[in-house]
Symmetry: C2
Subunit: 135 residues, 2 copies
DNA sequence: ATAGTTATTGTTATAATATAACATTGTGTA
DNA sequence: TACACAATGTTATATTATAACAATAACTAT
């Protein structure tokens, strides 16, 4: 494959790769400053370097932001290109977060129209409850 | 009605009332420090006074937090007691936010079970798109 | 009515999250 | 090779949120 095509496939830059690797191996959502702390040994020194990589990774769907927690997790759907239809379950005790992949849920929400007939280009859904271990 | 019952109805304290009134009359979601700025003339001087009132108002369902915007709006469902099933539409251009009240949506989500049969006690859903005016 | 309890308030300081602005370097394209 | 655009590096600062502690007000149960 030609190198010129690789960017279009969203090959990651150096900082993006370092930060994605860290998030990907993290068992739970990780916060921006925890990321910063962990990658300082790799030469990433400033918050902005982290936030820029996070913005890009979210944009291309490699990670998602858990809005209620200000934390980031790697996308758990292999097919994810863009973060435009996301759903998560969050345990309110242990804070475990799982990405929900339910065809019927995503179909329902993707097709949802409000009273005015408005259709949406994107959604984010966060469910809260207790996970198996905490119940 | 006896005064001793009034707290159970969530009658608001002074600061809670001041802050609720401001949010309620605001045509769009309002942020904590914008609230602070607006209520300083009423004697509320510190962020913590605002955040404490916000926490309580969210807890009793009088307002909701729009997580993706770090901003607050008054509950638009007259029946709201507790914020445990919330859905909003957000215009990505003008930032107009509307609370969605759809019986079928809330029924679908309230009854949603994931693969493991886990049921949730609470959810928050944010739809993004363009509102009528911005389309 | 009053003692005990809980919710609310006031205050200072600080923590945690996120972006502005500008200079520079790398990468893909024409 | 030159142009355009993406990514990086750096310093400073803006924004959002909580810790800790003291005091006051309101509710509950005698």
């Amino acid at each position: 494959m030609r190198i010129s095509k690789m960017n279009k496939m969203h090959n990651l830059s150096k900082n993006q790769q370092i930060i994605f690797d860290l998030i990907h191996k993290s068992p739970e959502p990780i916060k921006a400053y925890a990321i910063l702390f962990n990658v300082q040994k790799k030469g990433i020194k400033a918050p902005l370097q982290v936030y820029r990589a996070l913005d890009k990774l979210v944009e291309i769907g490699k990670i998602h932001k858990i809005e209620s927690r200000n934390a980031f997790i790697a996308c758990q759907n292999s097919s994810c290109q863009v973060s435009k239809a996301t759903a998560f379950s969050i345990c309110e005790i242990c804070e475990k977060v799982t990405e929900i992949s339910s065809a019927s849920l995503s179909k329902y929400l993707t097709n949802f129209k409000d009273k005015d007939g408005m259709k949406y280009s994107k959604y984010n859904l966060e469910f809260f409850g207790l996970c198996k271990k905490c119940r």
